[in-house]
């Protein structure tokens, strides 16, 4: 079969970075192409050019046999290109159906045909077994539901070219299986699909061919059958990664952190657990199990109803984040864009922000020399790729942004560090770096609480695993006895609804 997309020598720069450098790319009808690469390799940028979001600096494009010079999101859509973007792009105030048909509203006599749109949306959602009422406002949905809406929206176009940029980052296992079934069906219909993911385990289920980018350059492409995961990783990283889940041993000591009977709303119910010196405790669970809410409540970001928190055996009162930080408890939040970074501020400002209590005198005067030292040390220690700490944080790639967030918390001496999904959307090499950071903390005797939806990493890194469902801890497992199946069993142990 012929190529339906041919991009030749595409280049694209952003201030300070060459995101794409002479990249060529092809896609055939009826194939699923895995587009792979580290954070900042240029995958999203390439696909945004193909879908008309960005304009290329150089190069030429042939799409469905036509030479195309200038694309907008609208013309791309009209040509049959659908994209599920890495970031959620939905209007919270509009309903699911209104979002799905946004820009392509169905009309009757020139006016909106809401009934038809609702009906079509319902059919679409049913066809893909997505359990959402098309008339609910999107703002009321959870992140995973939103991602499903995003997928449904892309599928509602009779697309000939479908781009999925990390579609599964917020999905549950069942929803992912569902998605794979959809992908296979579309492939059979002759649709060309580009699939981007950092969850390399997923590839085997669907991908026909892989293409690898590194630092904005084309590296290679080959049929998936003819390669192995470790070879792919080596191409991505430019070197071999020995261990995907490096594990270090440390002697387990006394209790450093304990939560007793914590309650905070519907999703945090009677949570009790403890952390010991020299161990990483993982929290597993399905999307919406209440893990994020638990960490936020502990950290004082959300109000608590009841419960006690102990650090080194002493009870601490945490009503707001600053109390937690002062008590030696810090949280690396889940949502990088929303909760993690002040994107307009510099890397330096971001790293300094939670440490100003140390950097400022009693009267509040900031010691700028100390501030510079602290940030430069952090940038060095965490190998953050940034030319100058005064650069605005939003010009960094995802992985580097995550490192900024981690580093700002570790620049101070804390007793307990909570990581909420620290590896989401991060490439393999960066993941390993994050694991190493956690291991390092563990060896230093600092308590690490590690929330993740990816079972392999939970199993690979933690020493003890708490499983949550419906806002409760349903099981505590030692890593030696834990298996994926066992965790899933407890993660689906829902309460009987009255």
């Amino acid at each position: 079969m012929g190529n339906i997309v041919e991009l030749r020598k595409i280049s694209k720069s952003f201030p300070g970075v060459k995101a794409l450098d002479q990249v060529s790319f092809t896609l055939k009808a009826g194939e699923v192409l895995g587009l792979l690469g580290e954070n900042g390799a240029g995958k999203s940028t390439l696909m945004k050019i193909l879908s008309g979001v960005y304009t290329k600096d150089e190069g030429s494009m042939q799409i469905l046999g036509k030479e195309v010079d200038h694309l907008t999101p609208l013309t791309a859509q009209k040509m049959g290109i659908a994209i599920i973007n890495q970031e959620l792009n939905l209007c919270d105030h509009l309903t699911v159906a209104q979002n799905i048909f946004l820009g392509r509203e169905l009309l009757r006599n020139g006016t909106l045909n809401e009934r038809k749109m609702n009906g079509e949306a319902r059919k679409l959602l049913e066809r893909f077994q997505i359990d959402i009422d098309p008339e609910t406002p999107v703002g009321n949905l959870s992140v995973s539901k939103k991602q499903l809406v995003e997928i449904a929206k892309a599928l509602s176009i009779e697309a000939k070219i479908l781009i999925m940029d990390e579609p599964t980052s917020a999905l549950t296992a069942k929803e992912i299986d569902n998605l794979f079934a959809i992908i296979k069906r579309l492939r059979a219909q002759g649709c060309g699909i580009v699939y981007i993911s950092h969850r390399l385990e997923e590839l085997q289920h669907i991908v026909d061919r892989v293409m690898i980018l590194r630092d904005g350059k084309y590296i290679t492409d080959m049929p998936f059958q003819e390669t192995t995961l470790s070879e792919i990783i080596a191409y991505m990283v430019g070197r071999e990664i020995k261990e995907k889940f490096p594990r270090v041993e440390a002697a387990v000591g006394e209790k450093i952190f304990e939560v007793k009977n914590l309650n905070a709303g519907r999703m945090v119910r009677n949570i009790s657990f403890s952390l010991r010196k020299g161990e990483i405790v993982g929290i597993a669970g399905l999307m919406g199990a209440g893990r994020t809410e638990t960490t936020r409540a502990i950290f004082g970001a959300d109000p608590k109803e009841s419960g006690q928190i102990f650090i080194d055996g002493e009870e601490v009162k945490i009503n707001r984040p600053i109390d937690a930080i002062k008590a030696g408890l810090v949280l690396v939040p889940e949502d990088r864009g929303k909760d993690g970074l002040c994107t307009k501020l510099s890397v330096k400002d971001n790293i300094a922000l939670p440490n100003l209590d140390i950097l400022a005198s009693k009267l509040g005067l900031v010691n700028r020399k100390q501030e510079t030292e602290l940030t430069e040390t952090a940038v060095r220690n965490f190998e953050i790729k940034v030319a100058d700490p005064e650069t605005p944080a939003d010009s960094l790639s995802g992985g580097n942004q995550q490192k900024v967030i981690v580093s700002k918390w570790l620049a101070r001496n804390s007793r307990v560090v909570i990581f909420d999904e620290p590896t989401r959307g991060i490439d393999v090499a960066s993941k390993v770096e994050i694991y190493n950071i956690m291991n390092d903390l563990k060896q230093k005797g600092i308590g690490v609480l590690f929330v993740s939806s990816e079972l392999p990493e939970i199993l690979g890194i933690s020493d003890r695993i708490l499983v949550m469902a419906d806002g409760r801890i349903t099981k505590e497992l030692d890593v030696r006895e834990a298996t994926q199946d066992l965790i899933l069993k407890y993660a689906t142990q829902f309460e009987k609804k009255l």
Binding site: N99, L112, A264, D302
Partner: protein, 348 residues
């Protein structure tokens, strides 16, 4: 099952784009009317009601325009000046002997150009709306002053009698024409906003600009349309003002942009974009008008009027926030998360 579905339909309507707020403030409006009708025997006379409706018209009209703009997540500070500019342009032309209806046409064209300028400065040149319309606010006021060489105009004269009747003094079927004009404009724009594709796009742009852009919505033209509507409404108010006074006043419309914001916001239109319906703007403008009229009759000095109005603006919005956050607590208690707290989302 069927019952459940029906119930959820009702709930849905209530939840719909600020319908809840509309219902809440309607109660408030009724309360005010009751209070004032006790305080003042003339309040519910047909003469006063018809008067009152005519007084509400300018606030409602500018409120409609402002609501369109607010829904897209922007603001129009130039409304008051466009009222003044329209008043001066139309009156100057008429005093110079131009046929009133031609003057009206020219006035609309001139103001729509101002609306176009607003729209393009914001959507194409990417100026923040606050700044762009602060600039055009000053410019339009300057134009209002310069049109007749820094003077208010003379009387627009006998020839404009028909014009004055049409926009202000005349009655049709027992109701002042001003009220009819307002009603027709409201119906048209309400239809546009709730039933057409452009209307949908206005909400989408205000809710998530980037998403709307990626969905193929033409951002620039959508935002520009909102500003054109706003300019259109402001011009109509300017013409009503000319008809009312029978002359052009350079100062006309001063401060109307803020009344328009108040009317919209009291009626549930969010200054953050993406939310609100024009029914709310009607209630908001009515509350505003009833307060002005009622307090004046009650003999309240301007000072008290200002204080009361300020408090009411704050309270209605507080109430809305309270009602919404209470609804949420019923389901799940969230505090500092982005979805539940408007202020946390709020930029400027």
């Amino acid at each position: 099952m069927g019952n459940e579905k029906k119930q959820s339909k009702l709930k849905r309507i209530v939840a719909k784009r600020g319908m809840g707020q509309v219902i809440t403030v309607t109660f408030g409006l009724v309360g005010l009317i009751i209070v004032f009708s006790f305080l003042n025997p003339f309040f519910l006379t047909s003469r006063n009601i018809s008067n009152l409706l005519r007084q509400i018209a300018p606030t409602l009209l500018t409120g409609i325009g402002q609501s369109f703009v607010l829904i897209t997540g922007n603001i129009d500070l130039s409304i008051g000046s466009v009222v003044g500019m329209s008043c001066m342009i139309s009156a100057t032309l008429m005093t110079k002997g131009v046929v009133p209806w031609v003057a009206v046409l020219i006035t609309y064209l001139a103001s729509l150009l101002m609306g176009l300028l607003n729209g393009k400065l914001i959507s194409k040149a990417k100026l923040p709306a606050f700044i762009a319309t602060l600039g055009t606010m000053t410019i339009a006021r300057g134009i209002a002053q310069i049109v007749n060489n820094n003077y208010n105009t003379d009387s627009i004269g006998e020839a404009a009698e028909g014009f004055q009747q049409f926009f202000y003094y005349g009655k049709t079927l027992g109701l002042y024409n001003t009220i009819w004009i307002t009603l027709v404009i409201w119906l048209i724009f309400n239809f546009l906003l709730s039933r057409t594709r452009t209307g949908r796009h206005l909400y989408a742009v205000g809710s998530n600009l980037h998403a709307a852009h990626l969905s193929g919505v033409n951002i620039s033209s959508t935002i520009t349309k909102a500003y054109l509507v706003s300019a259109f409404c402001a011009t109509t108010v300017g013409l009503i003002t000319t008809a009312t006074s029978g002359m052009g006043t350079m100062d006309a419309g001063n401060g109307y942009e803020l009344y328009a914001v108040a009317a919209s916001v009291i009626g549930g239109v969010s200054t953050l974009g993406g939310q609100g319906i024009l029914l709310g703007t009607v209630v908001g403008a009515s509350i505003w008008g009833v307060l002005q009229n009622g307090l004046q009759f009650a003999g309240a000095p301007v000072a008290i009027r200002n204080i009361v109005i300020g408090i009411i603006v704050i309270i209605t919005v507080l109430m809305d926030i309270f009602v919404r956050s209470n609804k949420r607590i019923g389901k799940a208690k969230t505090s500092a998360d982005g979805n539940s707290s408007p202020a946390l989302k709020h930029k400027l």
